[in-house]
Amino acid sequence: MRLSPNWIRDFVDLPDDTHRLADDLTSIGIAVEGISGSGDGTVFEMEIGTNRPDAMNHYGVAREASALYNKPLKPVEARLPKASNAASFPIEIEDPKGCARFTARMLRNVRITPSPKNVINRLGLLDQRPINNAVDATNYTLWEIGKPTHVFDLDLLEGGRIIVRQARDGETLKTLDGVERTLSNEDLVVADARKPVGLAGVMGGYDTMITDKTRNILIESAWWDPGIVRKMSKRHSLHTDASHRFERGADFESTVLSTNRVAELILNSGGGELAGEIIDVIARRIDQAPIALYLSEVQRILGERLPEREIVRILEHLGFSVLAEGHDSGEFTVHVPSWRLDVEREIDLIEEIARLHGYDKFTNRLPAFSGAVVETPHAAKDQKVRSTLLALGYNEAVSLSFISRRDAERFSPAIALELANPQSEEASVMRTSMIPGMLDMLAHNLNRGIDQVRLFEAGQVFESVGQEAKELKRVLLGASAAALESQMPASSRLDVSQNEHAAASAVFRCLKGDVEQLVAAFECGPVYFDAKVSDYYHPGRSARLVLEGSTVAQFGQLSPEIAAARKIRQDVYLAEIYLDRLYTRPLRQVRFRALPRYPAVERDFSFVFEDRVLFENIKQAATSLDIAELVNFVPAEIFRGRGIPAGSYSILLRGTFQSAERTLREDEVAQWSARIIKALEVVGGTLRAS
C-alpha cells in the first residue's frame, strides 16, 4: 500500500531526508519497501504487518513516527458548524455480535461536485481514483485515519431508518461494482425498511449510491466483527479496502471522529448543513483489559535495564496510558488504546518497548553458556553414507516433505500424517516415502534431455502410529538406466544370455553393486538377498536385502506401468535403504589383514539349476562345507537359452582357494572341489561337462 510522507507531515514533524525516514520507519517494523517520486510527490510503498491495521494509514504511521522521533503528534479534529434540527433517523442493530457500534449523521442540501484539488492530488498519489466530493471524502478519511466509512443518498433509503440484520435467504443486493448478488442468512447487511443497502463492512449498494442528483446524505461509520466480514468477503469473492481493515480489527472508538471528518470534508467542498446531531448506537462495548507491566519483567526479557522514563515515554507516545502503582514499585497498569487490538499481554508491551527503543541499540553480549558441544548421534554414519554415494557418482538432491494422498497410498503401506491446512492436493500429507519426490526429480531431468541422472536423497519419512508420529531415516537412490549403463564396463556382464532380460538384469546389478558398496561401509553380520519386494518394483529386476531378519533395503527397476503413468521416458531404478535399521550396525572399522604370501588357486564349476534355486542356496551349499581355504565363491557367468532346458539356467561358479600358511597342493584342491560339486548336486544342480 502507498503512503505520502507529505500527508504524514500534517500530523508530525518528519526529517527532510526521505531515505533516512524510510530506513527509520522500517527499523521499527513499519516497512518501507520502495520510494518513488520526489519532493511533495514522494510516495512510500509500504509493507505493514497484518496485525497492525492501525498503521495502515497516514495518522497511524504519524503516531509511530512521533514515538520514534520523540515529536508531538497533532490530534485529528473535525471542525463542524452547528447542526440544524432534524427528525431522528433510528438505527436498529439486530446482531450485536456482528455489529458492535453504528454511528451515522445526516447532511442536507449538499452539492455533489468534484473534490477540491488537494484531495484529488493526495488521492492521486495513492493511485486512488477520484469520483465525487462525497465518495472521495470517505476515501480520504480511510487513508487519513484508517477508518472505512460509507455514504448513502439519504433520499434513496426507504422507510426513514436503518436496520443492521442478517440477510434473508434469497434476498438480493446489487453492490457498487454493479454485480447482482444473492444473499443468504449467513450474510450481515445494512438494510433500510425495505431492502438490503449494503454488505456490512465489505461494500455498499448500487441503488443507494451517491450520484450527481444527490442532495442529502447519510454517513455511516460502524464496527464490524472481523470473522463475519472475512467470511462474507470470501463467500462473495469481494476483497475491498474496507473489508481488509475490518477483517483485521477496526478501532471501536473511531466511529464518531471518522463520521465527523467525512461530514467536514463534504461540507467544505459541497456546502450544505449538518442535519441533526450525531447518531451513535452502541450494541456492545469492545473494551480491552488493562495490562500489568513489571519493570523487572522488562529487564528479564530484554536483558537490559531500560530507564523507566524511556519506557513510559515510548508507551505514551504510542497511545498507551501508563499509571504507576505506588511509588517506585516498578509496577504499572497500562491501558491499551482502542486501535491496538494486537496488544493483549505484558509481552506485547515489552515488544513495543524493544521495537521503539531500537533492536539494534541493545548492548552486544554473548549469553552465558555452560556445557559441551555434542555430536548428533548419527553424524559419522550420515557422513559416511553421503561420501560413499557422492564417490559412486550420485548427486545429492532435496525434495519436498509433503506428497499427495494418492502417492502415499501407492508407495507405502504406512498411515500418513495429514496436514490440517494443505495448500493443495499434491502436498496434503507428510511423506511416507521419498519415492514420489525422487520420481519427479528424475522426470524433471529426463524431460530436459538429461539422460544420465543419478540422485540420492537422505532424509526422513513420517508415519502415523496410533496417536504418535514417527520419523524414520531413509536414503533413496534414483537412477536412469542410461546412467547405470554408462558405468558398466563392457565386458562385465554376468548374464550372457541373448535376451532383453539379460540386458536389463545387468543394469539392475549395477544398482545392486552400489547398494552393496553402501552397506559394506557398515559392520554387518550375515546378510542375504531375496526377491520379496513391494509391488511397485519390476519383478525379476528387483531384490531385497535382509539383515538379521529385517529388511534393510529394497531396490530395483520401477514397474514400467508406474513409469508410463508418470510419463517417465526411460527405465528408472530406485534403491530404498532403511537407515533406521542399517544404523543399528556400527561403521566398519579398518582392520589390517596381512597380505597373502601364498598363491591362490581358482576352480570353475559349471552347473545347471532350475530357476527356483537362488544363488543364496548355492552359496550356502558351498560355504556351509566350512572349507577355511575357500576364500571366495562367486558367479562368473549365467546363461539361459539354447541348450538349456526351459525353466532352468546355466551358471559358471568360480571358487578361489588360498591358505595363509602354505602353498596349496593339487590333491587338496581336488578334494575340496569334489565336496563342493557334491553339495551343489544336493541342492539340485546338474554338473555340466566342462
Binding site: I347, A397, N445, I450
Partner: protein, 57 residues
C-alpha cells in the same frame, strides 16, 4: 523474542515461561546460498536438476 505462549507446548519438559526466555532467529540456508552464489531461482534447490547439482563440487 520467543512468545511465552510457545513454551506452553513444552512446559511439561520443564520450560517455565516465567523462568525461561528465548531468542529465535532463522536463516534459510537456501536463501543465504542464493545471496552468496547469485542463484536466480529458489526452486532450483528442490528440483534435482543435475545441471544445477553438478555445479556444487
Amino acid at each position: 523474542m520467543v512468545d511465552p505462549n510457545v513454551f506452553e507446548f513444552v512446559k511439561d519438559n520443564g520450560y517455565d515461561s516465567h523462568k525461561v526466555s528465548g531468542f529465535a532467529f532463522g536463516m534459510g540456508a537456501d536463501r543465504i546460498a542464493i545471496l552468496k552464489y547469485g542463484v536466480d531461482d529458489i526452486q532450483l534447490f528442490f528440483q534435482g536438476d543435475v545441471r544445477f547439482l553438478e555445479q556444487w563440487r
